[in-house]
Amino acid sequence: MSMIRCIALVPVLGLLAAPAVEAARPPKAPPPPSTESLIHQAKVAVRDGTAEPERDLAPMLERLRTTSVESDQRDLIYAIEELGRHDSANPASVKAYLREAAPPVLLAVARSKSDGLVRCNALMLLRTLNVKPEVLDEAIALAAADTSADKQAIQFRGRLLAGWKTNQPRNDEPPVSSATGTTAKEKAALDFLRRQHENVSSDNLGQAAMNADTEVVAALLDAGMDPNATLVAGMHPLSYAVGAGCAMERANLAARLATIDVLIQHGADVTLKDNGGATILVSAVNCPLPVIEKLLAAGAKVKDSEDRFSPLEMAFANGRWDIATLLVAKGARLSKKSIDKLFFEKPTDPDKLALIRRATAANKK
């Protein structure tokens, strides 16, 4: 009987006593993790391909938002830079999360009364993350309006951002491959790229395609880079592979064919044009014949009425009679008038003359 009473009393007492006790002596909440351990946890998760942004990255941003310890601010900014760098071999989901979630915090730091160098670094980190133009505009405006003791340095960073905004890489963000995190294929590709010190950017995809570096091209595509990314002058990875690539003869034919295969298998579109209106066959005029055959097999068109300059004209102008012969066999035609315009004097060689006659003959069907 008394036992029962006791047990019944404890919760009542507990309830009554609790507010008083708390007021007197706060309960021991676990101490907040150190900034160093937050950073370590995030880096390990990203490196292992197991990072969940809300679990592993959000706490860093929250710490940066609330801390006023200068060394912590500095370390956090460096860590976010390392993890979120837009062309790093880190998972696309990590980069995408930091690109979205970090700017409000970074802009707040840039506006704050923190150390001048910390504020400068917060601004420049926006560039490293390749944030949206609207965010850059906000940063540029706040830097221009700065009146603090560090205004010279801050305003200078604003001008750097403004300059970069006009020349910044576009289409450089691989799409996030899966909502749940990093797939095994993406992880393997990123590990390979990290070991090879290769940037994960569409720019680098173009370079690797130009050099017929098939393994790197395949890894970049597996890591989620767009096989049809728009590069300099509206060119695409495939135009690098056949254009500058063939012109520089940087690799052997087998490697070049393999690179083109990988691009096409990953969805490279052989019907795209560059800003000058050049189709892939026009770009490929310096390539060996098997490259042209591969592009045709993949669906490249021998003629396009909108072209200013057709692949056949390009082949004639470059003295590529082998390509011209193939294109004519595949149905490429030119009017007699454009042949007259193209050739100052027609060739005297009978084979070449016969080809020109076939090129101007009516197309069967």
Binding site: A317, G319, R320, L342, F343, F344, E345, K346, P347
Partner: protein, 216 residues
């Protein structure tokens, strides 16, 4: 003793050739002095100028008509036919330097003499590329054209689209070069002659030259 005899012979030979070269251009510019360096002189020169012994270092002196630096690099060991990092073969670059109006008269020719003395090839293999003579036909005065022909430049060269060296001289309006080519035996096909006279009937010198170049 023997060295002196050789030097005397060489000097005499140069004197006998020089007047023939000089007589050619109507405006009697003094024949430019063609620089020559021994290997130690050349090595000292490139060291002083801090130039690496690489073909790509030829580009700038060739285009600016600096024959001395070209001579120094070639005598110090650069191969005049090495295409590593060269935008174009050396002799073709030298001919394109004629287009630079800031160059002293004769500067391009002097550079060409230096390149030829070091064995630069006059003709190229790739059919779609322009030859040095073709570039000279566009930009250079007649003495340069004559010098390249003398060195064995292919007067029959045509681009893939059928533009001959002589046609090129007419197309760019370099009638002095056209005349030099015709004097050396270049001829026009009826097809080319017709195209070259179209819209140019008022230009008496051009009409006369085209007519001279018709036929065999």
């Amino acid at each position: 003793m023997r060295t002196i005899a050789f030097t005397l012979l060489a000097t005499t030979a140069m004197f006998t050739i020089a007047p023939a070269l000089r007589a050619a251009p109507p405006a009697a510019e003094p024949a430019p002095k063609i620089p020559h360096m021994s290997r130690p002189e050349a090595t000292a020169y490139v060291e002083r100028e801090q130039l690496a012994i690489e073909p790509s270092n030829l580009v700038s002196p060739i285009l600016s008509g600096d024959a001395e630096t070209v001579e120094a690099l070639l005598s110090a060991g650069v191969d005049a036919n090495d295409l590593t990092d060269m935008p174009k073969p050396a002799l073709r670059l030298a001919a394109s330097a004629c287009a630079n109006k800031e160059l002293k008269p004769g500067a391009a020719l002097t550079v060409i003499e230096v390149l030829l003395a070091h064995g630069a090839k006059v003709n190229e293999s790739a059919p779609s590329e322009l030859s040095a003579l073709m570039v000279a036909a566009q930009h250079c005065p007649a003495p340069v054209v004559r010098r390249l022909l003398q060195a064995g430049a292919d007067i029959k060269f045509k681009t893939s689209l059928g533009i001959s060296t002589l046609s090129m001289a007419f197309i760019t309006g370099n009638l002095d070069a056209a005349e030099a080519l015709i004097d050396a035996g270049a001829r026009l096909s009826p097809e080319a002659a017709g195209k070259l006279l179209k819209d140019h009937q008022d230009d008496k010198r051009r009409v006369a030259l085209v007519n001279k170049a018709r036929g065999k």
